[in-house]
Protein backbone atom coordinates (compact mmCIF):
# COMPACT_ATOMS: atom_id res chain seq x y z
CA UNK A 1 0.00 0.00 0.00
CA UNK A 2 1.22 3.48 -0.82
CA UNK A 3 1.60 5.86 2.11
CA UNK A 4 -0.74 8.80 2.06
CA UNK A 5 1.93 11.26 3.20
CA UNK A 6 5.61 10.54 3.41
CA UNK A 7 8.83 12.39 4.12
CA UNK A 8 11.95 10.74 2.75
CA UNK A 9 15.20 11.80 4.38
CA UNK A 10 14.07 15.41 4.49
CA UNK A 11 16.61 18.04 5.49
CA UNK A 12 15.52 21.64 5.96
CA UNK A 13 18.04 24.41 6.48
CA UNK A 14 16.51 27.86 6.95
CA UNK A 15 18.31 30.02 4.43
CA UNK A 16 18.17 33.21 6.51
CA UNK A 17 19.70 31.72 9.63
CA UNK A 18 21.49 28.60 8.49
CA UNK A 19 19.61 26.66 11.17
CA UNK A 20 19.26 22.98 10.25
CA UNK A 21 15.71 22.50 11.55
CA UNK A 22 15.20 19.07 9.99
CA UNK A 23 18.18 16.78 9.86
CA UNK A 24 17.13 13.79 7.80
CA UNK A 25 13.52 12.97 8.66
CA UNK A 26 11.80 9.91 7.24
CA UNK A 27 8.16 9.51 8.22
CA UNK A 28 5.35 7.54 6.59
CA UNK A 29 1.76 8.26 7.45
CA UNK A 30 -1.10 6.10 6.19
CA UNK A 31 -4.52 7.49 5.24
CA UNK A 32 -6.72 7.87 8.32
CA UNK A 33 -3.91 7.74 10.86
CA UNK A 34 -4.08 9.77 14.07
CA UNK A 35 -0.53 10.96 14.78
CA UNK A 36 0.91 13.26 17.44
CA UNK A 37 4.31 14.88 17.05
CA UNK A 38 6.04 15.82 20.30
CA UNK A 39 9.45 17.18 21.21
CA UNK A 40 11.15 20.10 22.93
CA UNK A 41 10.74 23.69 21.77
CA UNK A 42 12.72 24.18 18.60
CA UNK A 43 13.03 20.46 17.82
CA UNK A 44 11.58 20.89 14.31
CA UNK A 45 7.92 19.93 14.78
CA UNK A 46 6.40 22.99 13.10
CA UNK A 47 9.05 22.93 10.37
CA UNK A 48 8.15 19.31 9.66
CA UNK A 49 4.41 19.85 9.27
CA UNK A 50 4.90 22.90 7.05
CA UNK A 51 6.46 20.55 4.51
CA UNK A 52 3.21 18.62 4.26
CA UNK A 53 1.33 21.42 2.53
CA UNK A 54 4.28 22.88 0.65
CA UNK A 55 4.66 26.03 2.78
CA UNK A 56 8.25 24.92 3.22
CA UNK A 57 10.18 22.89 0.67
CA UNK A 58 12.94 20.47 1.62
CA UNK A 59 16.55 21.58 1.24
CA UNK A 60 17.13 17.94 0.32
CA UNK A 61 14.99 14.82 0.40
CA UNK A 62 11.43 14.37 -0.83
CA UNK A 63 7.87 14.80 0.38
CA UNK A 64 5.35 12.42 -1.17
CA UNK A 65 1.58 12.54 -1.42
CA UNK A 66 0.05 9.23 -2.46
CA UNK A 67 3.50 8.21 -3.62
CA UNK A 68 4.05 11.28 -5.82
CA UNK A 69 6.70 13.89 -5.14
CA UNK A 70 4.95 17.15 -4.19
CA UNK A 71 7.93 19.20 -5.37
CA UNK A 72 6.08 20.23 -8.51
CA UNK A 73 2.70 20.75 -6.82
CA UNK A 74 1.61 24.27 -5.89
CA UNK A 75 0.64 25.26 -2.36
CA UNK A 76 -2.84 25.99 -3.73
CA UNK A 77 -3.19 22.43 -4.96
CA UNK A 78 -1.83 20.95 -1.72
CA UNK A 79 -4.25 23.11 0.27
CA UNK A 80 -7.07 20.94 -1.09
CA UNK A 81 -5.48 17.93 0.58
CA UNK A 82 -3.78 19.20 3.73
CA UNK A 83 -5.44 21.73 6.03
CA UNK A 84 -2.93 23.32 8.41
CA UNK A 85 -4.03 25.21 11.52
CA UNK A 86 -1.30 27.53 12.78
CA UNK A 87 -0.23 27.72 16.40
CA UNK A 88 -1.02 31.43 16.52
CA UNK A 89 -4.56 32.10 15.25
CA UNK A 90 -3.75 35.75 14.62
CA UNK A 91 -1.45 34.68 11.80
CA UNK A 92 -4.45 33.13 10.12
CA UNK A 93 -7.46 35.31 10.88
CA UNK A 94 -8.16 38.26 8.57
CA UNK A 95 -11.87 38.46 7.76
CA UNK A 96 -14.38 40.88 9.26
CA UNK A 97 -16.78 38.27 10.58
CA UNK A 98 -16.57 34.76 11.95
CA UNK A 99 -18.70 33.45 9.08
CA UNK A 100 -16.62 35.17 6.40
CA UNK A 101 -13.46 33.80 8.00
CA UNK A 102 -14.74 30.22 7.93
CA UNK A 103 -16.21 30.58 4.40
CA UNK A 104 -12.99 31.80 2.85
CA UNK A 105 -11.22 28.44 2.62
CA UNK A 106 -14.05 26.26 1.29
CA UNK A 107 -15.14 29.02 -1.10
CA UNK A 108 -11.64 29.08 -2.53
CA UNK A 109 -11.88 25.35 -3.03
CA UNK A 110 -14.97 25.95 -5.14
CA UNK A 111 -17.71 25.14 -2.67
CA UNK A 112 -20.94 27.06 -3.21
CA UNK A 113 -24.58 27.09 -2.15
CA UNK A 114 -25.89 24.49 0.28
CA UNK A 115 -22.64 22.61 0.36
CA UNK A 116 -20.73 25.72 1.45
CA UNK A 117 -23.41 26.64 3.97
CA UNK A 118 -23.34 23.14 5.47
CA UNK A 119 -19.54 23.04 5.61
CA UNK A 120 -19.42 26.38 7.45
CA UNK A 121 -22.27 25.52 9.81
CA UNK A 122 -20.77 22.11 10.57
CA UNK A 123 -17.35 23.58 11.34
CA UNK A 124 -18.75 26.34 13.58
CA UNK A 125 -20.88 23.78 15.37
CA UNK A 126 -17.91 21.48 15.94
CA UNK A 127 -15.94 24.19 17.75
CA UNK A 128 -18.94 25.70 19.55
CA UNK A 129 -18.98 29.02 17.71
CA UNK A 130 -22.38 28.53 16.04
CA UNK A 131 -23.76 31.54 17.91
CA UNK A 132 -20.94 33.86 16.84
CA UNK A 133 -21.25 33.73 13.02
CA UNK A 134 -21.77 37.48 12.77
CA UNK A 135 -19.19 38.50 15.39
CA UNK A 136 -15.94 40.20 14.54
CA UNK A 137 -13.17 37.64 15.14
CA UNK A 138 -11.31 40.16 17.30
CA UNK A 139 -14.29 40.46 19.64
CA UNK A 140 -13.60 36.84 20.59
CA UNK A 141 -11.05 36.08 23.30
CA UNK A 142 -7.73 34.46 22.38
CA UNK A 143 -8.96 30.95 23.13
CA UNK A 144 -12.05 31.30 20.92
CA UNK A 145 -10.00 32.88 18.12
CA UNK A 146 -7.97 29.70 18.26
CA UNK A 147 -11.15 27.63 17.87
CA UNK A 148 -12.16 29.89 14.96
CA UNK A 149 -8.86 29.22 13.20
CA UNK A 150 -9.55 25.51 13.65
CA UNK A 151 -13.10 25.87 12.27
CA UNK A 152 -11.89 27.70 9.19
CA UNK A 153 -9.67 24.75 8.28
CA UNK A 154 -12.25 22.12 9.28
CA UNK A 155 -14.71 23.69 6.85
CA UNK A 156 -12.35 22.95 3.96
CA UNK A 157 -12.98 19.24 4.58
CA UNK A 158 -9.50 18.31 3.49
CA UNK A 159 -8.49 14.63 3.69
CA UNK A 160 -5.67 15.60 6.08
CA UNK A 161 -5.81 17.94 9.04
CA UNK A 162 -2.64 19.27 10.68
CA UNK A 163 -2.95 21.04 14.04
CA UNK A 164 0.02 22.95 15.46
CA UNK A 165 -0.41 23.13 19.25
CA UNK A 166 -4.21 23.12 19.19
CA UNK A 167 -4.72 23.21 22.97
CA UNK A 168 -2.56 26.15 24.02
CA UNK A 169 -4.54 28.69 25.99
CA UNK A 170 -7.62 26.45 26.14
CA UNK A 171 -9.38 25.74 29.41
CA UNK A 172 -10.53 22.24 30.38
CA UNK A 173 -13.68 22.46 28.24
CA UNK A 174 -11.75 23.82 25.27
CA UNK A 175 -9.27 20.94 25.41
CA UNK A 176 -12.15 18.47 25.59
CA UNK A 177 -13.81 20.14 22.60
CA UNK A 178 -10.63 19.89 20.55
CA UNK A 179 -10.28 16.24 21.50
CA UNK A 180 -13.81 15.63 20.18
CA UNK A 181 -13.08 17.51 16.95
CA UNK A 182 -9.93 15.45 16.37
CA UNK A 183 -11.67 12.17 17.09
CA UNK A 184 -14.68 13.05 14.93
CA UNK A 185 -12.35 13.83 12.01
CA UNK A 186 -10.56 10.54 12.60
CA UNK A 187 -13.88 8.66 12.77
CA UNK A 188 -14.82 9.79 9.25
CA UNK A 189 -11.46 8.66 7.92
CA UNK A 190 -9.50 11.92 7.81
CA UNK A 191 -5.81 11.81 8.63
CA UNK A 192 -5.05 13.95 11.66
CA UNK A 193 -1.57 15.09 12.66
CA UNK A 194 -1.20 17.15 15.82
CA UNK A 195 1.75 18.88 17.49
CA UNK A 196 1.45 19.22 21.25
CA UNK A 197 3.35 19.73 24.48
CA UNK A 198 0.34 18.56 26.47
CA UNK A 199 1.30 14.98 27.23
CA UNK A 200 -2.06 14.11 28.74
CA UNK A 201 -3.90 15.40 25.66
CA UNK A 202 -1.55 13.41 23.43
CA UNK A 203 -1.94 10.18 25.40
CA UNK A 204 -5.72 10.47 25.52
CA UNK A 205 -6.30 11.56 21.94
CA UNK A 206 -3.77 10.04 19.54
CA UNK A 207 -2.99 6.49 18.38
CA UNK A 208 0.59 7.08 17.29
CA UNK A 209 3.23 9.34 18.82
CA UNK A 210 6.31 10.57 16.96
CA UNK A 211 9.05 12.05 19.15
CA UNK A 212 11.50 14.64 17.76
CA UNK A 213 14.82 15.99 18.99
CA UNK A 214 17.00 18.53 17.19
CA UNK A 215 15.50 17.88 13.78
CA UNK A 216 15.34 14.10 13.96
CA UNK A 217 12.77 11.49 14.86
CA UNK A 218 14.00 9.58 17.90
CA UNK A 219 10.92 7.47 18.71
CA UNK A 220 7.72 6.47 16.96
CA UNK A 221 5.05 4.20 18.41
CA UNK A 222 1.73 3.91 20.22
CA UNK A 223 1.22 5.98 23.39
CA UNK A 224 1.74 2.73 25.31
CA UNK A 225 5.13 2.22 23.71
CA UNK A 226 6.35 5.81 23.76
CA UNK A 227 5.25 6.52 27.35
CA UNK A 228 6.34 3.10 28.70
CA UNK A 229 9.11 3.19 31.29
CA UNK A 230 11.59 1.84 28.74
CA UNK A 231 11.11 5.02 26.69
CA UNK A 232 11.49 7.58 29.45
CA UNK A 233 15.15 8.12 28.83
CA UNK A 234 14.39 8.91 25.18
CA UNK A 235 11.67 11.36 26.23
CA UNK A 236 13.98 12.98 28.77
CA UNK A 237 16.60 13.51 26.06
CA UNK A 238 14.17 15.90 24.34
CA UNK A 239 13.07 17.41 27.69
CA UNK A 240 9.72 15.67 27.87
CA UNK A 241 8.28 13.52 30.56
CA UNK A 242 5.44 11.01 30.40
CA UNK A 243 2.00 11.90 31.78
CA UNK A 244 1.68 11.52 35.55
CA UNK A 245 -0.66 8.53 35.05
CA UNK A 246 2.10 6.67 33.20
CA UNK A 247 4.66 7.44 35.89
CA UNK A 248 2.33 6.35 38.69
CA UNK A 249 1.35 3.17 36.82
CA UNK A 250 4.98 2.21 36.31
CA UNK A 251 5.83 2.99 39.95
CA UNK A 252 2.97 0.77 41.14
CA UNK A 253 4.03 -2.02 38.76
CA UNK A 254 0.81 -1.80 36.76
CA UNK A 255 2.43 -1.75 33.31
CA UNK A 256 1.76 0.83 30.62
CA UNK A 257 -0.93 3.29 31.76
CA UNK A 258 -0.49 6.38 29.56
CA UNK A 259 -3.95 7.73 30.42
CA UNK A 260 -5.92 8.16 33.64
CA UNK A 261 -8.54 5.80 32.29
CA UNK A 262 -5.96 3.09 31.75
CA UNK A 263 -4.50 3.66 35.21
CA UNK A 264 -7.93 3.38 36.80
CA UNK A 265 -8.63 0.19 34.82
CA UNK A 266 -5.35 -1.29 36.03
CA UNK A 267 -6.11 -0.28 39.62
CA UNK A 268 -9.54 -1.93 39.38
CA UNK A 269 -8.04 -5.13 37.99
CA UNK A 270 -5.41 -5.14 40.71
CA UNK A 271 -8.12 -4.71 43.38
CA UNK A 272 -10.03 -7.77 42.17
Amino acid sequence: MTDFLALEDVVHVYRETGVRALDGVTLRIGAGELVAIIGQNGSGKSTLVRHLDGLLRPTSGRVLLDGRDIGSMSVARLARVVGLVFQDPDRQIFAGSVRAEVEYGPRNLGMRGDRLRDAVAGALDAVGLEGEAKSNPYDLGASRRKLLALASILAMQTPALVLDEPTTGQDARGVERIRRVVQAAHAVGRTVIGISHDMRFVAETFERVVVMRTGRIIADGTPDEVYAAAGWETLASTFLEPPLAARVGAHLGLGATPTEERLLGALRNAAQ
Binding site: N41, S46, R144, Q170, A172, F239, L244, V248, L252, L267
Partner: protein
Protein backbone atom coordinates in the same frame (compact mmCIF):
# COMPACT_ATOMS: atom_id res chain seq x y z
CA UNK B 1 2.36 46.18 47.12
CA UNK B 2 -0.19 46.18 44.30
CA UNK B 3 -3.83 46.57 45.25
CA UNK B 4 -7.05 46.44 43.29
CA UNK B 5 -9.92 47.96 45.28
CA UNK B 6 -13.44 47.17 44.00
CA UNK B 7 -12.32 47.34 40.40
CA UNK B 8 -14.74 46.91 37.51
CA UNK B 9 -13.67 47.36 33.93
CA UNK B 10 -15.52 47.54 30.63
CA UNK B 11 -13.74 47.45 27.24
CA UNK B 12 -14.48 50.33 24.87
CA UNK B 13 -17.57 49.46 22.85
CA UNK B 14 -18.53 46.50 25.06
CA UNK B 15 -21.98 46.39 26.55
CA UNK B 16 -21.05 44.62 29.77
CA UNK B 17 -18.05 44.74 32.07
CA UNK B 18 -15.34 42.09 31.72
CA UNK B 19 -14.19 42.58 35.30
CA UNK B 20 -16.67 43.02 38.13
CA UNK B 21 -15.90 44.36 41.59
CA UNK B 22 -12.52 42.72 41.96
CA UNK B 23 -10.57 43.35 45.13
CA UNK B 24 -7.18 41.80 45.64
CA UNK B 25 -3.87 42.56 47.27
CA UNK B 26 -0.53 41.40 45.99
CA UNK B 27 2.17 41.60 48.67
CA UNK B 28 5.87 42.04 47.92
CA UNK B 29 7.42 38.66 47.16
CA UNK B 30 4.05 36.96 46.81
CA UNK B 31 3.05 34.76 43.85
CA UNK B 32 -0.71 34.97 43.40
CA UNK B 33 -2.26 32.55 40.92
CA UNK B 34 -5.35 33.34 38.84
CA UNK B 35 -7.48 30.55 37.40
CA UNK B 36 -10.74 30.54 35.49
CA UNK B 37 -12.33 29.28 32.30
CA UNK B 38 -11.58 31.02 29.01
CA UNK B 39 -13.04 34.52 28.97
CA UNK B 40 -13.62 34.51 32.74
CA UNK B 41 -11.58 37.73 32.93
CA UNK B 42 -8.01 36.52 33.52
CA UNK B 43 -6.40 38.49 30.68
CA UNK B 44 -8.52 41.55 31.50
CA UNK B 45 -7.36 41.36 35.10
CA UNK B 46 -3.76 41.27 33.83
CA UNK B 47 -4.34 44.34 31.64
CA UNK B 48 -5.93 46.28 34.51
CA UNK B 49 -3.30 45.27 37.08
CA UNK B 50 -0.53 46.34 34.70
CA UNK B 51 -2.17 49.71 34.09
CA UNK B 52 -2.61 49.17 30.34
CA UNK B 53 -6.38 49.16 30.80
CA UNK B 54 -7.73 51.75 30.53
CA UNK B 55 -4.60 53.94 30.15
CA UNK B 56 -3.47 52.59 26.79
CA UNK B 57 -6.37 50.55 25.44
CA UNK B 58 -9.26 52.75 26.56
CA UNK B 59 -12.42 51.46 28.20
CA UNK B 60 -13.96 52.40 31.53
CA UNK B 61 -12.53 51.57 34.92
CA UNK B 62 -14.38 51.94 38.19
CA UNK B 63 -12.59 51.45 41.50
CA UNK B 64 -8.95 52.01 42.30
CA UNK B 65 -5.60 50.46 41.40
CA UNK B 66 -2.98 51.31 44.02
CA UNK B 67 0.78 50.92 44.18
CA UNK B 68 2.10 50.90 47.73
CA UNK B 69 -1.18 52.40 48.83
CA UNK B 70 -1.12 55.26 46.34
CA UNK B 71 -3.84 55.54 43.72
CA UNK B 72 -2.33 55.24 40.24
CA UNK B 73 -5.16 57.16 38.54
CA UNK B 74 -3.64 60.02 36.55
CA UNK B 75 -0.14 58.50 36.48
CA UNK B 76 1.03 58.15 32.89
CA UNK B 77 1.76 54.68 31.45
CA UNK B 78 5.53 55.09 31.49
CA UNK B 79 5.43 55.89 35.21
CA UNK B 80 3.32 52.80 35.96
CA UNK B 81 5.38 50.61 33.64
CA UNK B 82 8.55 51.19 35.65
CA UNK B 83 6.73 49.66 38.65
CA UNK B 84 4.64 46.95 37.00
CA UNK B 85 5.76 44.79 34.07
CA UNK B 86 3.45 42.58 32.05
CA UNK B 87 4.12 39.45 30.02
CA UNK B 88 1.51 38.79 27.35
CA UNK B 89 0.17 35.40 26.43
CA UNK B 90 1.39 35.71 22.87
CA UNK B 91 5.15 36.36 22.63
CA UNK B 92 4.56 37.97 19.24
CA UNK B 93 2.78 40.77 21.11
CA UNK B 94 5.55 41.02 23.66
CA UNK B 95 8.67 41.18 21.53
CA UNK B 96 9.83 44.66 20.63
CA UNK B 97 10.12 44.01 16.90
CA UNK B 98 13.16 46.33 16.79
CA UNK B 99 15.86 44.05 18.19
CA UNK B 100 17.78 42.06 15.62
CA UNK B 101 19.19 39.56 18.11
CA UNK B 102 17.82 37.75 21.13
CA UNK B 103 20.52 39.41 23.25
CA UNK B 104 19.35 42.90 22.22
CA UNK B 105 15.74 41.91 22.77
CA UNK B 106 16.38 40.80 26.34
CA UNK B 107 18.46 43.94 27.01
CA UNK B 108 15.80 46.20 25.47
CA UNK B 109 13.72 46.71 28.63
CA UNK B 110 16.48 47.69 31.08
CA UNK B 111 18.18 49.83 28.37
CA UNK B 112 14.94 51.76 28.00
CA UNK B 113 14.79 52.31 31.74
CA UNK B 114 18.27 53.85 31.66
CA UNK B 115 19.89 51.08 33.68
CA UNK B 116 23.71 51.49 33.52
CA UNK B 117 25.32 49.43 30.77
CA UNK B 118 27.33 46.95 32.89
CA UNK B 119 24.19 46.21 34.89
CA UNK B 120 22.17 45.71 31.67
CA UNK B 121 24.76 43.21 30.43
CA UNK B 122 24.79 41.38 33.75
CA UNK B 123 20.98 41.15 33.88
CA UNK B 124 20.73 40.09 30.25
CA UNK B 125 23.20 37.26 30.69
CA UNK B 126 21.61 36.14 33.94
CA UNK B 127 18.17 36.07 32.30
CA UNK B 128 19.44 34.13 29.27
CA UNK B 129 21.08 31.62 31.61
CA UNK B 130 18.02 31.27 33.81
CA UNK B 131 15.93 30.17 30.84
CA UNK B 132 18.71 28.14 29.18
CA UNK B 133 18.58 30.18 25.95
CA UNK B 134 22.17 31.43 25.94
CA UNK B 135 22.78 29.63 22.67
CA UNK B 136 20.02 31.65 21.00
CA UNK B 137 21.68 34.97 21.93
CA UNK B 138 22.77 35.90 18.42
CA UNK B 139 19.61 34.64 16.69
CA UNK B 140 16.90 36.87 15.20
CA UNK B 141 13.89 36.82 17.58
CA UNK B 142 11.54 36.80 14.56
CA UNK B 143 13.01 33.54 13.36
CA UNK B 144 12.57 31.37 16.43
CA UNK B 145 9.98 28.73 17.19
CA UNK B 146 6.90 29.83 19.16
CA UNK B 147 8.20 28.29 22.37
CA UNK B 148 11.65 29.82 21.97
CA UNK B 149 10.04 33.24 21.45
CA UNK B 150 8.08 32.79 24.63
CA UNK B 151 11.28 32.06 26.58
CA UNK B 152 12.92 35.16 25.07
CA UNK B 153 9.92 37.29 26.05
CA UNK B 154 10.13 36.02 29.63
CA UNK B 155 13.89 36.58 29.73
CA UNK B 156 13.18 40.20 28.77
CA UNK B 157 10.89 40.49 31.79
CA UNK B 158 13.45 38.92 34.12
CA UNK B 159 16.02 41.46 32.90
CA UNK B 160 13.65 44.28 33.87
CA UNK B 161 13.73 43.04 37.49
CA UNK B 162 10.36 44.72 38.07
CA UNK B 163 8.86 45.26 41.52
CA UNK B 164 5.59 43.83 40.28
CA UNK B 165 5.18 41.35 37.46
CA UNK B 166 1.94 40.35 35.77
CA UNK B 167 2.11 37.18 33.66
CA UNK B 168 -0.69 36.08 31.35
CA UNK B 169 -0.20 32.38 30.60
CA UNK B 170 3.57 32.68 30.30
CA UNK B 171 4.08 29.00 29.52
CA UNK B 172 1.27 28.42 26.99
CA UNK B 173 3.69 27.46 24.22
CA UNK B 174 6.43 25.90 26.33
CA UNK B 175 7.51 22.30 26.59
CA UNK B 176 7.60 20.76 30.09
CA UNK B 177 11.28 21.64 30.53
CA UNK B 178 10.70 25.28 29.54
CA UNK B 179 7.73 25.41 31.89
CA UNK B 180 9.93 24.15 34.72
CA UNK B 181 12.60 26.79 34.00
CA UNK B 182 9.95 29.50 34.12
CA UNK B 183 8.64 28.04 37.35
CA UNK B 184 12.09 28.21 38.94
CA UNK B 185 12.65 31.75 37.60
CA UNK B 186 9.33 32.90 39.08
CA UNK B 187 10.30 31.44 42.45
CA UNK B 188 13.67 33.24 42.37
CA UNK B 189 12.14 36.59 41.41
CA UNK B 190 9.61 36.30 44.22
CA UNK B 191 12.33 35.39 46.70
CA UNK B 192 14.09 38.61 45.67
CA UNK B 193 10.94 40.57 46.54
CA UNK B 194 9.06 40.87 43.23
CA UNK B 195 5.32 40.35 43.58
CA UNK B 196 3.87 38.22 40.81
CA UNK B 197 0.34 37.87 39.48
CA UNK B 198 0.21 34.67 37.43
CA UNK B 199 -2.79 33.78 35.24
CA UNK B 200 -2.51 30.19 34.03
CA UNK B 201 -4.48 27.23 32.74
CA UNK B 202 -1.65 24.94 33.86
CA UNK B 203 -2.69 24.30 37.44
CA UNK B 204 0.34 22.01 37.89
CA UNK B 205 2.50 25.13 37.55
CA UNK B 206 0.33 27.14 39.95
CA UNK B 207 0.51 24.32 42.51
CA UNK B 208 4.30 24.51 42.29
CA UNK B 209 4.84 28.26 42.63
CA UNK B 210 1.82 30.00 44.19
CA UNK B 211 1.07 30.69 47.81
CA UNK B 212 -2.44 31.88 47.12
CA UNK B 213 -4.85 31.44 44.19
CA UNK B 214 -8.00 33.28 43.17
CA UNK B 215 -10.59 31.83 40.79
CA UNK B 216 -12.49 34.06 38.40
CA UNK B 217 -15.87 33.43 36.80
CA UNK B 218 -17.76 35.91 34.67
CA UNK B 219 -15.35 38.69 35.61
CA UNK B 220 -15.63 38.31 39.38
CA UNK B 221 -13.58 36.52 42.04
CA UNK B 222 -15.61 33.47 43.10
CA UNK B 223 -13.02 31.57 45.15
CA UNK B 224 -9.87 32.56 46.96
CA UNK B 225 -7.51 30.65 49.20
CA UNK B 226 -4.22 28.91 49.86
CA UNK B 227 -3.00 27.25 46.64
CA UNK B 228 -3.01 23.71 48.08
CA UNK B 229 -6.57 23.99 49.32
CA UNK B 230 -8.09 25.89 46.42
CA UNK B 231 -6.51 23.77 43.68
CA UNK B 232 -7.90 20.62 45.36
CA UNK B 233 -11.40 22.09 45.62
CA UNK B 234 -13.87 20.03 43.56
CA UNK B 235 -15.76 23.21 42.59
CA UNK B 236 -12.81 24.15 40.41
CA UNK B 237 -13.84 21.61 37.75
CA UNK B 238 -17.34 23.14 37.66
CA UNK B 239 -15.69 26.45 36.75
CA UNK B 240 -14.08 24.78 33.73
CA UNK B 241 -10.61 24.63 35.27
CA UNK B 242 -8.64 21.37 35.11
CA UNK B 243 -7.28 20.56 38.58
CA UNK B 244 -3.57 19.69 38.90
CA UNK B 245 -2.72 16.17 37.64
CA UNK B 246 -1.99 14.94 41.15
CA UNK B 247 -5.38 16.11 42.42
CA UNK B 248 -7.19 14.56 39.44
CA UNK B 249 -5.45 11.21 39.80
CA UNK B 250 -6.01 10.94 43.54
CA UNK B 251 -9.62 11.91 43.12
CA UNK B 252 -10.13 9.38 40.33
CA UNK B 253 -8.39 6.62 42.32
CA UNK B 254 -10.85 7.18 45.16
CA UNK B 255 -13.58 5.90 42.84
CA UNK B 256 -11.75 2.55 42.79
CA UNK B 257 -11.08 2.20 46.52
CA UNK B 258 -9.62 4.02 49.48
CA UNK B 259 -6.62 1.70 49.32
CA UNK B 260 -6.06 2.52 45.63
CA UNK B 261 -6.27 6.24 46.40
CA UNK B 262 -3.71 5.86 49.19
CA UNK B 263 -1.26 3.96 47.01
CA UNK B 264 -1.67 6.47 44.16
CA UNK B 265 -1.05 9.33 46.60
CA UNK B 266 2.11 7.64 47.90
CA UNK B 267 3.22 6.91 44.36
CA UNK B 268 2.71 10.54 43.27
CA UNK B 269 4.92 11.58 46.18
CA UNK B 270 7.56 9.09 45.08
CA UNK B 271 7.59 10.04 41.39
CA UNK B 272 7.98 13.67 42.33
CA UNK B 273 4.81 15.69 41.76
Amino acid sequence: MLTLASVSYRYAGATRPSLRDVTLELADGEVLGVVGASEAGKSTLCLVASGLAPRTIGGTLVGRVLLDGEDTAGRPMHAVATEVAIGFQNPGTQLSGVATTVYEEVAFGPMNLGVPRPEVLRRTETALDALAIGELASRDPDRLSGGQQQLVAIAGLLALAPRHLVLDEPTAQLDPAGTRLVSVAIGRLAAAGTSILLAEQKTDLLAAVCGRVVALADGGIVMEGAAGTLLADPRLAELGVAPPSAVRLEHAARSVSAAAAASVARSIGAVGE
